[in-house]
């Protein structure tokens, strides 16, 4: 039986091309089986093995299969013999003799073909699912994707696969993403890519197709309370609260529009930006009830700045441009870690020192992490020597936390430093909302797009001592009393 297949294999490999094809196909097949079994058993977990089993081996297998008929064809050309003559020459008469279910050779060919089809479909299924795995995207091109992989793992979308947003559904999406991936492989291999990878990514799948699978505009209603804690740089790192009641409604009711009005059912906002960077706006148009558009133009930009190719219809990513790959602002990163307790609030000057320990960037991550450690340890040793005994564990936890923060956000090999990528959500460090909502975006009468603070949020505290400062009774002697009254009334009147 074994001999029968072996003879067949020898028989079909008529010359060196055929032999090479046979060797490739057979050895790829055998290696795949050998590697896939331990992976199925959970013994092998490395993502790089997948690169071999699901990309390289099926590729070699197919190459081998193609070489076989090529070998036949070459042999035919050189000797001028027909297929029948070839068969008679390579195989014994007995094997070629016709029987009820075809000749023996024919049956071998059928069986092997079925085996090939099964193997190829199994392999390609495995290949596709392997490439759909976030781990593949995040680690296959390690140096390039590592920053995105790290921020992704720490993000609200950490349980959503990369391909769900980046590839989308349908054959068209798949093909375009694979073509794009092929180019990326070339650019990584030959070091053609830019560092950091420039944003915005223009070929991203339309957000309305991807994001709205889970978050659809009809369900953005009401408001959302957002509490921000900032810590001062004094010894006790005094907490200051900013509480915003974000008006996030899509605004189907008149006068109740909120921030998601921009993507509401009947609304459309179009814009163009300088160099298609989506940072400095050239003009914005909003669709009116009668179907016409009202245009606002950036009056500070002359004709020469009008370099754009892309007219965008606003969707999720125009504001939520970092919904997943969130790079933090160092100040905010420290504030959040203190608020969550990952960094102990009771350590003296913890805000000031933690921030300064991570603010400097170095060519090597390891050096930066070492600097974070020495900075923190030295500060407490020199200024609060007794703390080493009583708060040693807290200091150590703070150091580790800060190192993790740094590790996630700063990537010297990709030239990513603090603030390399803008975040358009809100208006914390980058312009965000104020890209359009500013004094310079004016309609033909010179009226600017509204940009007053309470347009998008009620303010219930603003760097205040308590989280709901402005809902408390007004103290007349307080210099802020006028603001206090104004914001309290603004909030109360919003919910009549």
């Amino acid at each position: 039986m074994k001999e029968k297949y072996f003879k067949f294999l020898l028989g079909v490999s008529v010359n060196w091309i055929g032999k090479l094809g046979m060797i490739l196909t057979t050895s790829a097949f055998i290696t795949f089986i050998v590697v896939e079994i331990p992976r199925l058993l959970g013994i092998l977990t490395n993502a790089y093995i997948g690169l071999i089993t699901y990309l390289l081996l099926p590729f070699l297998f197919i190459i081998g299969l193609i070489l076989l008929p090529l070998g036949w064809w070459k042999y035919h050309k050189e000797t001028g013999k027909s297929l029948d003559e070839l068969a008679t020459e390579r195989f014994e008469d007995d094997e070629l003799r016709a029987k009820t279910y075809g000749s023996r050779i024919f049956r071998v060919v059928i069986i092997l073909t079925i085996a090939n089809v099964i193997f190829l479909s199994a392999a390609s299924f495995r290949t596709m699912s392997f490439m759909d795995d976030a781990e593949f995207c995040g680690t296959a091109c390690h140096s390039v994707m590592n920053p995105e992989w790290m921020t992704y793992q720490d993000s609200p979308h950490a349980n959503v696969n990369c391909v769900d947003c980046h590839v989308g559904e349908g054959v068209g999406a798949l093909i375009s993403s694979k073509l794009n991936g092929a180019y990326q492989m070339i650019s990584v291999t030959f070091n053609l890519y830019e560092r950091p990878i420039p944003t915005p990514v223009h070929q991203l799948r339309p957000a309305r197709e991807t994001c709205e699978k889970c978050h659809w505009p009809d369900k953005f209603y009401g408001s959302r309370l957002k509490r921000i804690v900032r810590y001062d740089s004094d010894e006790t790192s005094t907490a200051k609260y900013t509480t915003l009641n974000l008006k996030i409604d899509t605004g189907s009711k008149v006068g109740k529009a909120g921030i998601h009005w921009h993507i509401g059912k009947n609304n459309e906002v179009k814009y163009a930006s300088v160099d298609d960077k989506r940072q400095e706006m050239l003009w914005v148009e909003t669709k009116q009830d009668d179907g016409t558009y009202k245009k606002y133009i950036n009056k500070t930009l002359g004709e020469s700045d009008n370099s754009f190719e892309e007219t965008r219809i606003m969707d999720c990513v125009d504001c939520h441009n970092r919904a997943t790959h969130i790079y933090e602002d160092p100040r905010k990163a420290v504030d959040i870690r203190i608020a969550t307790g990952e960094i102990d609030h009771s350590l003296p000057f913890i805000k000031r020192e933690a921030l300064s320990s991570i603010s400097k960037t170095f060519a090597e991550k390891e050096l930066a992490k070492e600097v974070i450690r020495t900075h923190m340890e030295r500060f407490y040793r020199n200024n609060y020597s007794s703390l080493a005994d009583t708060k040693g564990k807290e200091i150590e936890t703070a150091v580790k936390t800060l190192q993790r923060v740094y590790d996630k956000n700063v990537h010297p090999n990709m030239n990513i430093e603090w603030g390399s990528y803008p975040n358009h959500l809100g208006h914390d460090r980058d312009a965000g909302c104020f890209r359009c909502h500013n004094n310079d975006m004016v309609d033909e009468s010179g009226t600017a797009i509204r940009y007053d603070c309470t347009l998008c949020h009620n303010i219930l505290a603003s760097d205040s001592e308590t989280p709901f400062q402005y809902l408390r009774p007004v103290e007349k002697a307080d210099p802020d009393s006028a603001m206090h009254v104004y914001l309290q009334e603004e909030f109360l009147n919003s919910y009549k």
């Binding site: 603070c453 309470t454 603003s462 210099p479 009254v485």
Partner: protein
């Protein structure tokens, strides 16, 4: 009876209106300003918040509120406001200060277009330097531009010069000394408040003060000078050292604080030949009153005696003869080029009085010996004998040469043709000094 009643009425009337705020302001409007500007311009917010204004609920709109009819008023988030806050605006709450400023020499600092300084900056330099150089200190006319978002033309805003000519007709800018938006008393009382402008080669008041014992004592004891105190009477609330404000403006036991900075000055030392001010005896008395907080009468008198003599020395020995010669040259049209400052000798004469002569006089006024002599009269001498006179002689005009000969034959000048040993002997014997005796008793 009728008179008593009307008197009571008047007292009540003024009593009541003085307690009313100058402008009725909707606190909701003020609250909206603070809300956004706390985020948008946190520096302004923080300065204001800790200022006396902030602490007494004087808010943005109290100063920046405007009437729709004001030339610089613009609609901003539902209220008419103006960027510019003029002495007239400040005067709503601080009428005495605004009145004094309006009458002071400072308030007229913006009317410089006719001066030689402004002429030179415009012809020699050009309008950009006239704006950022001259007008930054002097102030200029605020130009309204209807197309500008805040109605102020960029060419005249920023404009915080002390003699700013405002669209509401008032003159001056309180912020040139009372830096916005903290308007700190302590800051305005420090010498640095003045030295944004009062420094440099033509009027080095800051440098002279730093050289003087007054400055020395101030920088040593700054903390003890009670700079932030509401009451700041020299000799009562502080005694370590005077600042510019102490002598020129602030309260003494007898005088109230004044924003009319010339009110204690006998001399105007600005022009080529020094002039005494109107009512100078009273003004000198005002200054002496300040001195007496820390000095004895004889000390103060002695200082003025020495100071006046130096002013007279400069005037009589150098300023008057040089001016006479210059006037004659101009009268006879002897200069090669027509425009002012297009001939070397004009620059020489200019620096003689505008730079060197002022340095000497200011040095003497504020007890800065180095400025009186090395940066002052020393430079005047060198310039007068070895640049000005030779330049004038170069013109080869008989009348000019005769005038020069007459000047040089004066006992104050004829040392140039004498023997050094004789001169030294005369100095040692005191005879030489007698030449200058009259300078101590002029005016």
């Amino acid at each position: 009876m009728k008179r008593t009643r009307s008197l009571i009425f008047l007292v009540l009337f003024f009593g009541i209106i003085s307690y009313l705020p100058a402008q009725k302001v909707d606190s909701k409007v003020a609250g909206k300003c603070i809300t956004c500007h706390k985020e948008e311009s946190p520096g302004i917010y923080k300065q204001w918040h800790s200022s006396n204004h902030g602490q007494h609920n004087v808010t943005c709109i109290d100063c920046h509120g405007a009437k729709s009819s004001d030339a610089d008023a613009f609609m901003h988030e539902g209220a008419y406001i103006a960027t510019l806050v003029t002495p007239k605006d400040c005067g709503n709450c601080h009428p005495k200060e605004a009145k004094e400023v309006g009458e002071s020499y400072h308030a007229n600092a913006g009317m410089i277009l006719e001066s030689n300084d402004a002429y030179l900056a415009h012809v020699g330099g050009g309008s950009p330097v006239a704006i950022v150089g001259c007008e930054s200190c002097h102030g200029s006319k605020v130009i309204i531009d209807e197309n500008s978002p805040n109605k102020l033309a960029k060419i005249s805003w920023p404009n915080s010069g002390i003699g700013r000519i405002n669209p509401d007709g008032s003159k001056g800018a309180c912020v040139s000394c009372h830096t916005r938006h903290s308007f700190s008393k302590a800051q305005a009382r420090q010498p640095e408040a003045c030295s944004k402008c009062h420094l440099g080669p033509d009027h080095p008041q800051k440098e002279i003060y730093e050289e003087s014992k007054h400055g020395n004592a101030y920088y040593t004891n700054k903390e003890k000078n009670n700079l932030a105190s509401d009451s700041w009477v020299v000799g009562v609330d502080y005694a370590e050292a005077p600042t510019c404000a102490t002598c020129h403006m602030s309260a003494t036991k007898k005088q109230k604080v004044t924003h009319d900075v010339g009110n204690r000055l006998k001399w105007s030392l600005r022009p080529p030949i020094s002039k005494t001010k109107e009512d100078f005896a009273k003004k000198r008395k005002n200054m002496k009153d300040v001195c007496l907080a820390c000095h004895g009468d004889r000390f103060a008198e002695g200082h003025f005696y020495q100071f006046d003599a130096l002013v007279n020395l400069y005037d009589e020995k150098f300023a008057k003869p040089a001016t006479q010669i210059m006037d004659l040259i101009k009268k006879k049209n002897l200069l090669e080029n027509k425009a002012a400052f297009s001939n070397d000798i004009e620059w020489v004469y200019w620096e003689l009085w505008h730079h060197e002569g002022r340095r000497a006089r200011h040095g003497a006024a504020m007890m800065g010996p180095d400025y009186a002599w090395w940066h002052g009269i020393y430079d005047v001498i060198h310039n007068f004998y070895f640049e000005f006179i030779p330049e004038a002689k170069h013109l080869n005009d008989k009348d000019v040469n005769d005038l020069i000969a007459k000047v040089m034959s004066d006992p104050m000048h004829n040392w140039l043709s004498k023997d050094t040993k004789d001169l030294k002997d005369n100095i040692n014997s005191g005879d030489h000094q007698k030449i200058y005796k009259q300078l101590f008793n002029l005016k």
